[in-house]
Amino acid sequence: MKNIKSIRIIIIFCSVFSFYSSFAQTDIDAIMMNKKQFCAGVMYGSGSWKNYWEGTNKRDNANLGTVSTKEYMLQGNYGVTNKLNVLFSLPYINTKATAGTMHSMKGLQDLSLFIKYMSLKKKIGSGTFSAFTIGGLSFPTTNYVADYLPLSIGMHSTNLSFRGMLDYQISNWFATISDTYIQRSNIKIDRTSYYTNELHYSDEVYMPNATSFNIRTGFRNNRVIAEAVFNKWTTQGGFDISKNNMPFLSNRMNSSIIGFNGKYNFKKDGEFSFTGGFNSAIAGRNVGQTTHYNIGAFYLLDFNKKKKIIASKS
């Protein structure tokens, strides 16, 4: 509880990698819950873009105006052991365009589950070095409409992710680097034919896999986190949106974003904490140039404490 491991918060990095903000939510920081601690919270996020990259060509579209996404997310992290955490998140998403005739979309999106394992922790020099492996699974929780870009709430693929992550901390200053491979399942759409670079006669769409590289660095102690983040999402394949065409699910969507996150605990080791973040796309391909912010509130349940209370009563 007293050390950095017990910081009861998951700072979520919303990787805004597609036209809408996509929440293949990743646990991507070096913070672990202790055994039998459960931290859960709610987060609100909002992203929007006016310009987007049609292939590599940046443009706007008067028939969309500004496309915005609002997310309301439940998330949690449970400490199975001090070295092994399981995490989940589930967003409800609402999309909207300010111009044109296209109807907005809303609904529950994908449930993400992660297993996070700290495989190494050791003093190196004046700091602490730790290594993590993280496995993730996400899948759609509803039959939402994916083939409605840029206003669909998600891609409807089932994703498996593998992440390697390294962290180094000296005093209250840290740096974390991670790389993720995302294996995406094919998806089914409502039509029986679709065009990529050629015409396909199937309702199944091949979804290229993706990688996501992430660096974050800043200040971290058990009351405050302030960090800068860079993330690069790269789709391994896919095709470009042709001129003045609509986007499609298997486009080559790439995005580089930079952002800042913060977390604050009102009391030292208190149950309540608050988070906030902001990020913005600096480069992209077949995605919106999104700026995004989020705020969240989290609460810690410590099952170790409860046991002690029950024990003292008896």
Partner: protein
Amino acid sequence: MKKLFFILSILLAIFLLQACNKSIVERNMEFAALNPLKTDVNAGEWKPVLLTGPTEFPVPVPAATNTPAYVSEINEIKGWQRNLNQTQKNTIAYWSAGAILRWNEILRELVAKHNIPPYQNPDGTYPFPSAANPFAYPIFPFSNPPYAARAYAYVAAAQYDALIASFYYKKLYNRKAPYKIDNGVQPLVPQNDLGSYPSEDAAVVGVTVELLKLLFPADLDYIQQKADEHKLYRILAGANVRSDVEAGEALGRTVAQKFTARARTDRAGAAIGTATLWAQMESQTAATGEMPWISQDLPKRPPMLPLFGKVKTFLFDSLTMVTDISAHAPPSTNSLQFKKEADEVLYYSKNYDRNRIEIVHFWADGVNTYTPPGHWNAIASEDFVKQRFSEVRWARNMALLNMSLMDAATVCWSTKYKYFNPRPTQFNPDIKTWTGLPNFPSYTSGHSTFSGAASTILGYIIPAKATAYNDMAKEASLSRLYGAIHYRSDCDSGLVCGKKVGSYAIARAVTDGADF
């Protein structure tokens, strides 16, 4: 916790197993080699569309099969067959599904590729594709639904006429297939008793390439590559000698001239209209007291092909179109009826229903797709494969279907620009759509007209599926109401009109000689 891990690991394992294989088997790659139930050996007597008769373009007498020239052609086949590689085997598997089928698919692909509205100029006007300069942006053509319907119709009707002529000379000369002449030639496609000269496949190649030069001039490289592959396949498969192929291709090319000549003078070239005309349509409608259609695109886009309603039809004349087929007037935009219908659209816009969205998207066939006429071609093709029609019957049925679809486009477009009715989203800005909004007036629904026409003629061709086609047409029609694109009147009137168009195709079908 152990249980959770157990469930999670099972899920992971299942997913991993599925994830390993992401290759997709597409429906059109599973079609078997065409093995017709009937050879239709007398198809040379069927009624052509534009040809005056099967002998309008004579085909020279072929060399006898005992001549050195013929023997060397047989040897060419044997040479190929000795060393067939996997690519060549794949070529045989692909093309043997049927010439009409595969070229119809190629056409659908070209339509989908080019069905993208041009991007605006810096001053907010729009450029138009130019047939004279097809490679400049916007690349020619913009194959929107009327353009596509016309392309499918010309190609299908021309293929049909070319095959009638080809079948006539096949019977007349009755040169046997190479595999029947020489035991050393392996038949790598199902055998039949038709004469092999001139090659029906090559006739399809010849006629189609000429039409596509006109319709999709920017894609000639691709088209030529497919044509070369198709012709070679016949030789690889031991189904034709080179002179069969050459005679067939030459015949097809000649037949094409009748159709390209018609296409150049069918008034489609002027269908875009002029800025003056677009303004007139708006002001004339306003002068009657009705609310005129206004483009909902930003910047405002000129209406799609406002003079397509004047394009020359295949199945009836322009007088018949006016007196017997065209839809009656829509409810006045000032009427209570119109308001009620707009409220109904608002209901479907406001009330999300996943099943309805599925219907909307299944039938949407919007930007970058093969259009509604292409969708009906895809439906027909997959059903025709099961019917095992001969090539010439495939061509005839495709011609009937596509002449219906093109004439449906003409009828529908003439109605749209006669009444110039506003879309629901214009009439009531609270209405939002569940799919892309087309840039032309509302009444009548194009989807409904196309679907009424297609389902009617397809119900004649495959009577066992008549009810199913009718249900599909109704669903396609209603999908536009569900999508908040159209009022119910647009859909109902379009469907009625389309069915009438289809009945003219049936009238032709019962007298063309193919069904008795």
